[in-house]
Amino acid sequence: MALAIPQQAPWYLVPLRFVRGLLQGRRFPGVALFILFFLLILPGIFAGFIAPHDPIKGSLSARLKPPMWEKGGTSTYPLGTDKVGRDVLSRIIHGARVSLRVSLEAIIVSGVIGTTLGLLSGYFGGRIDAFIMRLVDISLGLPIILVALVFVAALGPSFGTVIAVITVLLWARYARQVRGETLSIKERDFVARARVAGASHFRIMFRYLLPNVVNSLIVLATLQVGFVILLESSLSFLGAGIPRPIPAWGLMVADGRELIVTAWWISMFPGLAIMLTVLALNLVGDWLRDRLDPKLKNV
């Protein structure tokens, strides 16, 4: 009867196995979703209700307070305050909303543009295809940080500029992906039948082809969210992204840079927030890809 008894793993292997399962994409990324929910989605939607303090107005009497567990910290400001007395925790919570907004808007705009052009390119082929694919090659070949710097030098930092810059880069990936899949799907029988039945080009593209590429669009979008958040925070850090005093994570890290000797918490916590969010998004994206669309292995 010894067979029925499950082999007990030594205690120290349990966390290691867990991490390994997560990394190899076999395990459901529950921890990652948990982090995402509490770090990005919940604060992103309900920032105004959760944040204990105003993210923009500080109180000058409470400047540079350390986190509550350090000497001199109070539980009023759990993660401390910055040099104008703004609560770091509240700013991180509101920063989640900025990250969420930028990534959703950028991905939706570039997704719509990229998918439409990809469908056109794959469905019609010929000159249209050649032209759109040239555009794709060009925009994938542009150095993105530099494009961002030119835009910002000309137009000044704003939400719109950041989203425009990110869109310039991202649409091409959608277009390339959608085009590739459209090329094979349009040869299938149901498309030919739709054509015989008299469906218009427009109808074939959006009612027959689009639903078949949705899976890979979802995977691509999930994998992009992390990338967009990282890009936005890098741009904000350089002063070429979200303008002050809006609480963006990258800006907060930049604010704390000169104070790293005396007030490490100002840039440490927002940086951790970026890292954990992007890490979690990558894990979820990898898992989704393996589930929905193993073809995308190299995106």
Binding site: R134, V147, L149, V150, F151, V152, A154, I260, V278, L279
Partner: protein, 314 residues
């Protein structure tokens, strides 16, 4: 092959040209240059005279009577000769002069970063492939994942905090001795390590599986010699070409890292120029960097096609 190189070369020129159009249009969107050139109280006649003198009365892109007599072509012609005008912020310097003056610092940093990433990625990549599915391999995967997820500017600040502020081993910022270079170079190289390690791992896995490797084992060759001599030599092709891509990525990555560590290179110049809205300097940097970036991409593609004949005939 020649046709492939020609097509790719023309594509690169096209990309560079698009970049120049973007830069030029955005420069004009910032406002009418006449407002900068003229005092506030200048009259209409004065405006016209100055506009004529600087060629600002010509159309921006398209002149129907004389196709090449437009402002854009004046800009392009000067840009091709490396003339981007005078800097507004750094008085008495030409924009191009500033870029060239700062370029050595950036190249120095990028060189050391490439060296560090190669020295780390090579052994790690090979070992993760040889010891596939062990905990060492998982460790490699964690590093790769962190490479994708850690914001480079934050990593820079954390390393500065630990090694410069708390431990006091290295200087926090600036340029001078070798010690100054350690932190920025490690930060810049870190992301390449993650990417290159995975690349070496996957191509090593392919080679380790092949027939000729089995033969060398059957011959009774020592295992270390099989791995490090016979396999590595065959697996090195893909990572080698990736090196060139890395060079392009490092150039743009330097913008972030240089501004973290106040490294006086071109990247820092770019950020300073953007903050001061010094558009002449931004133009010069962007065009120079874009040229380097696009040309390295071109070189990589040609190298790939040279190594792998399948690409040439696509």
């Amino acid at each position: 092959m020649q046709r492939y190189i020609l097509v790719r070369f023309l594509q690169s020129l096209l990309a560079l040209w698009v970049m120049s159009v973007i830069v030029f249009s955005l420069a004009r969107m910032t406002g009418d240059p006449l407002d900068v050139l003229l005092p506030m109280e200048a009259g209409e006649g004065e405006r016209e005279r100055v506009a004529k003198h600087w060629g600002l009365d010509k159309p921006l892109f398209l002149n129907l009577e004389n196709p090449f007599d437009a402002q854009y072509f004046t800009f392009l012609g000067k840009a091709l000769r490396g003339d981007f005008g005078m800097s507004w912020k750094w008085q008495g310097h030409t924009a191009m002069g500033l870029v060239i003056e700062r370029l050595p610092a950036t190249l120095e940093l990028a060189g050391v970063a490439i060296l560090i990433s190669a020295l780390l990625a090579l052994p790690f990549g090979v070992l993760t492939a040889v010891w596939k599915d062990t905990f060492f391999d998982s460790f490699g995967k964690i590093i790769a994942l962190l490479g994708q997820s850690l914001p480079s500017f934050w990593l820079g600040i954390v390393l500065m905090w630990i090694f410069a502020v708390s431990l006091g081993w290295l200087p926090t910022s600036g340029r001078g001795t070798w010690y100054h270079m350690v932190l920025p170079a490690v930060c810049l190289g870190w992301f390449q390590v993650a990417a290159m390690m995975r690349l070496i791992r996957s191509s090593m896995l392919d080679v380790l599986d092949s027939e000729f490797v089995k033969l060398t084992r059957v011959k009774g060759l020592a295992e270390w010699k099989v791995v490090w001599k016979h396999c590595l030599r065959n697996a090195a092709i893909a990572p080698l070409t990736y090196f060139a891509i890395t060079a392009g990525v490092l150039i743009t990555g330097s913008v972030v890292i240089e501004s973290v560590f106040a490294w006086p290179g071109t990247g820092l110049l770019a950020v300073d120029a953007v903050r001061a809205r010094d558009f002449q300097v931004v133009q010069a940097i962007v065009i120079v960097f874009a040229a380097v970036f696009i040309m390295t991409n071109l070189l990589v593609d040609i190298l790939y096609a040279y190594i792998d004949p399948r690409i040439r005939y696509q």
